[in-house]
């Protein structure tokens, strides 16, 4: 695979479109950590994030012919990842609604709150502050959450976020601003060691 290291992402996907499976392996190698990190921050659950990351790569594998050279590969890839995450979130919300509707007061085990997905080990490694930051991100609305993650965690530029989300530049900027303010407020409320 070393010969593929010099190729750009766009060249790799074009090679994969020509049935070069090794090019796809290189894409997986380059993007697996990025997408797992993005999805972990989006879902707050590592296993779920890895499953969704695999789903994202499968979608890329199956719909390779849909990629056009006019866009950056990273933009196309993150668009697929965001859509996969959104679809998963919708499924989860439907599931939770059903479990709430089936709530039986006598058997309170059925009623489950959202699991943050942090194991004690992860919490220890990331630190207490990171734990609360992630908790604050989880509590954000979907519209703000994905844009904050893309901008402040994945460090994508505004143009790319505009293309991924399909929103106008003004909307993206205002949502980033409002999302940050909300996040700060949530952190100040939940983080016990906040400096005042």
């Amino acid at each position: 695979m070393p010969e593929y290291r010099s190729n750009t992402d766009e060249e790799l996907i074009l090679m994969f479109q020509n049935d070069d499976v090794e090019a796809f392996n290189e894409i997986v190698f380059r993007y697996k950590n990025k997408v797992v990190n993005f999805l972990y921050r989006y879902t707050g659950n590592r296993e779920e994030a890895e499953d969704l990351a695999q789903d994202t790569f499968i979608k890329v594998f199956r719909s390779k012919h849909l990629y056009k050279e006019i866009a950056k590969f990273s933009t196309w890839f993150y668009t697929i990842a965001v859509n996969t995450a959104k679809t998963n979130a919708k499924k989860k919300s439907r599931m939770s609604t059903m479990s709430l509707s089936d709530y039986d007061p006598e058997n309170e085990k059925d009623y489950e709150l959202k699991d943050p997905g942090f194991t004690p080990e992860e919490t220890a490694n990331a630190g207490i502050e990171n734990y609360y930051i992630q908790k604050a991100i989880n509590s954000l609305d979907e519209d703000f959450k994905k844009i904050i993650i893309l901008r402040d965690i994945e460090d994508l530029d505004y143009e790319e976020i505009v293309k991924i989300t399909g929103l106008p530049m003004g909307t993206v900027k205002s949502r980033i601003n409002r999302g940050r303010e909300k996040l700060k407020k949530i952190l100040s409320d939940i983080y016990p060691y906040n400096e005042k």
Binding site: V28, N33, Y40
Partner: protein, 270 residues
């Protein structure tokens, strides 16, 4: 102030968050899932192509809907309005025929008024007879001449009703009583009929021959003439024959008078 600069502390915190890495078996697991999904996807593709999905799915043939609908509308319109159009034409034609605008030229029997002044020899005589006008004195003489040459009068002919046509009158003819002197001098009825019929046949054959001479390609046959016209033709023909018959009767009357007078004189002489 820029948005990023405004929330620089939070942004730094978020950027410093530890980055999650995929587990060691991530690629193998992905490969396994792809291998599992590939045959399924191949199998599921033909199943997906239901009619509904073809028309309204993502890869729909949406453009076919207006085309097909237009074609169907066109067929329906044609199937509904074409018979209506045909019936309208038929009604127009029948009305025109009934009004007599589009009468085809009659080739035998009575000719239409337009052809009365034609230069076909012998036609004028027939037309005069057909129309029922009294022929001019010169023509009358010609006719008389012609009939006198061929016609042998018959006493019984005068007894026929005036409105009977030729064919019927032939059937209704009763042979003259044997033994009477008048009947002895007269020719038998069959001969008279032949004699009477000759000029008419001559005239008709002359007209037909002339028409053939004018339009050799046109065959005068029944299919060319429509039913409606046929009826009018028969009527006209009958009237023409009747007119002829009247003339013949008049001539016969005159002749019989002469013969009777001759017989009287002979009897007196004897």
């Amino acid at each position: 102030m820029n948005n990023d600069e405004q929330h620089i502390d939070l942004r730094e915190k978020l950027l410093k968050l530890p980055r999650m890495k995929a587990r060691g078996g991530f690629e193998n697991e992905l490969l396994r899932r792809i291998n599992l999904l590939e045959p399924v996807s191949v199998k599921s593709e033909p199943g997906k192509s239901s009619l509904w999905e073809m028309l309204f799915g993502k890869k729909s043939l949406a453009w076919t809907i207006p085309a097909v609908s237009l074609a169907v509308i066109g067929i329906v319109v044609l199937s509904v309005f074409l018979p209506m159009y045909k019936t309208d034409d038929m009604t127009k034609q029948t009305s025109e025929l009934s009004s007599g605008k589009d009468k085809l030229p009659v080739t035998s029997g009575t000719l239409p008024n337009e052809t009365t002044g034609s230069s076909i020899p012998g036609k004028d005589i027939v037309n005069d007879l057909d129309i029922g006008k009294s022929p001019s004195p010169e023509k009358k003489d010609e006719i008389n001449k012609g009939y006198n040459e061929t016609f042998v009068p018959r006493s019984t002919k005068t007894e026929f009703p005036s409105n009977t046509n030729v064919i019927d009158s032939r059937k209704e003819t009763t042979p003259p009583e044997k033994g009477t002197e008048v009947s002895k001098n007269l020719t038998p009825p069959v001969e008279i009929d032949k004699a009477v019929e000759k000029p008419v046949i001559k005239e008709e054959s002359r007209i037909e021959n002339n028409n053939k001479g004018i339009e050799p390609d046109k065959k005068i046959s029944a299919p060319l003439i429509k039913d409606n016209e046929k009826i009018t033709f028969d009527v006209d023909r009958n009237t023409g024959i009747k007119a002829k018959e009247d003339v013949k009767k008049k001539l016969a009357k005159n002749l019989t008078k002469e013969i009777l007078e001759n017989l009287k004189q002979k009897i007196i002489d004897n």
